[in-house]
């Protein structure tokens, strides 16, 4: 049993150091896995220290909870598919936020006459944790397609949200001012849960990377607030590290879409576009369809090929076949690279994980800024299941809803082949000028099917 508070603090300090080192190791894919192990050791250390604290009871319940939680977590982590990683992260955000809110709730229940500062942190922890929990559950449902991924909006939505959040804030202020009734926190948590649902519902599927990052930051901040409730530095620091990570990713994602965070959260993207794209004048240019054999010849005689993958590729489960195609081409001496747009996929960095799972070496994966100068010297670009991130209108058409968004400059290559199921518009619902370009040919059909045909055609050519 550890009773000396200084010893406890020093033991927790080891955990803090481990967490910081584990994040530091994430700077390179070579050491990242080692870093995760260090973080894991830090966590075990913190759990061990806590279990050795003096005066703990209810051991049966503690062990039972640890076992149930471990089994659930392990099964989830083992069975989740890489395409479903955004849902997984969303649900873990929710679970962490929920735990923080519950800790705050029990502290409120058990502290007879809390100090003012303690009340502030209990209120914040309950508020942020509950928003994160409810928001994450809705984000999960959207990503898992349990409910429509399209924005769900109604008139006066933002007003309702402001009213709910205002009510929550007023309740919180009342609690801090001395209204220390049990029902205050119940009501506060209910309002926060309601707000969490309301603020994620109107956000469209394409904006999910921003939302998940934001919820990640929320959960971190909730954990940090819990640290203030329990006077625990390890919670304060760890929670804040996560808060910083989430905030940074939120800003990066919003920047990659050239939109402000506020616009993502309250703009209900995807709704507005349906109308504007339809009025686009047809200037007589048409798309040119091509065949797998023609593309195979193009690819076989190319020197440099860049693959620009989008989420459509992952939906078709074509990433393994794309890698095979790249292997076949490389055997013929073709230089193959992958161009990854920051918002390719459904969460930050998602496309890299999907390709890594398909055994694409990470040295072949290139970020947008790094690879954009390469396109003018590239013979063929294969656009697979990507749409809006290749749309030149983002550079040239001030009227386009994605104007100003940084894109992959695929149109600067000598020729472009777009693998696409049909001519339907992308997630944002906007026409893509690229398809009308004289250098572009379209290979229609299921991405996996098309790539398989390409592999055999390249082998035979």
């Amino acid at each position: 049993m550890i009773s000396d508070p200084d010893v406890v603090a020093i033991l927790y300090l080891v955990t803090i150091a481990c967490f910081v080192v584990s994040l530091k190791f994430l700077a390179s894919p070579r050491h990242a896995r080692k870093g995760n192990w260090i973080g894991g050791l830090g966590m075990l250390f913190a759990i061990g220290t806590t279990l050795l604290l003096e005066g703990l009871e209810n051991w049966l319940l503690i062990v039972l909870a640890l076992v149930i939680g471990s089994v659930v977590g392990l099964i989830g982590a083992r069975s989740v598919r890489m395409t479903a990683m955004p849902q997984m992260v969303a649900i873990f955000n929710g679970v962490g936020g929920g735990a923080a809110a519950l800790v705050a709730l029990s502290e409120w229940h058990n502290t007879a006459d809390p100090f003012r500062e303690e009340t502030v942190s209990i209120v914040l922890s309950a508020l942020i944790g509950s928003i994160s929990f409810a928001g994450s559950v809705v984000a999960f449902a959207k990503l898992q397609e349990l409910i429509s991924g399209r924005p769900i909006v109604f008139a006066g939505q933002n007003l309702v949200n402001i009213a709910v959040l205002g009510g929550g804030a007023a309740l919180g202020a009342a609690a801090v001012a001395g209204l220390e009734e049990q029902w205050v926190l119940y009501l506060l948590i209910s309002l926060a849960l309601f707000f969490g649902v309301m603020f994620v519902l109107p956000i469209g599927g394409a904006d999910m990377p921003v939302v998940i990052s934001l919820l990640n930051a929320f959960t971190g901040l909730a954990a940090s607030a819990t640290g203030f409730v329990l006077d625990s530095t390890v919670l304060i620091v760890s929670g804040m590290l996560v808060g910083a990570a989430g905030t940074l990713l939120t800003l990066l994602m919003a920047k990659a879409m050239n939109r402000s965070v506020a616009n993502v959260l309250f703009g209900a993207f995807g709704q507005v576009q349906a109308g504007t794209s339809a009025v686009r004048a047809d200037d007589g240019r048409t798309v040119r369809a091509t065949s797998p054999d023609d593309v195979a010849v193009q690819l076989s005689f190319a020197r440099k090929v860049i693959v620009a993958p989008g989420y459509g590729m992952a939906v078709a489960q074509a990433q393994h076949d794309v890698r095979q195609l790249a292997d076949v081409l490389e055997e013929r001496g073709v230089d193959v690279k992958y161009a990854i747009h920051p918002v390719a996929g459904r969460m930050p960095g998602h496309m890299n994980v999907l390709l890594a799972e398909a055994n694409v070496p990470y040295t072949q994966l290139h970020e947008m800024d790094e690879i954009n100068p390469d396109f003018p010297q590239t013979d063929v670009v294969l656009v697979i299941g990507a749409n809006d991130v290749t749309n030149p209108a983002a550079r040239s058409d001030p009227g386009s809803p994605i104007y100003g968004m940084p894109i992959l400059d695929v149109d600067k290559a000598a020729s472009i082949v777009v693998l696409k199921r049909s001519m339907s518009p992308g997630f944002a619902g906007i026409d893509n000028e690229l398809y009308l370009d004289a250098k572009t040919t379209m290979l229609f059909g299921d991405a996996k099917d098309s790539v398989l045909k390409l592999i055999s055609a390249v082998k035979n050519s």
């Binding site: 955990t15 894991g40 319940l61 977590g73 390890v234 990066l252 960095g349 799972e357």
Partner: protein
Amino acid sequence: MTDLPLVIELTILVLAAFLGFEVIAKVPTMLHTPLMSGANFIHGIVIVGAIIVLGTADDAFTKVVGFVALVLATANVVGGWFVTDRMLGMFKRRPEPKREEPRK
């Protein structure tokens, strides 16, 4: 736990924020998904709070709340760690050093 003055705790919070931004800004885009799940794992540290709540609970309400909190936090920690490990294990450099062989 140690009863630190609020000012000290706030100082720690602000410094942790700066540290977090510095460290995380260096994570390459390629690893942003593992970064998120790794961050997920780290906020599982609320498990410490959940253990304390359940371990010191003496009424039914707190026991239930603490139990649920501990299950959630444990799932968060275990799931977050394993999924991050699984993902990071997939990032490999070129497996066959065919072209580099002549250099040996």
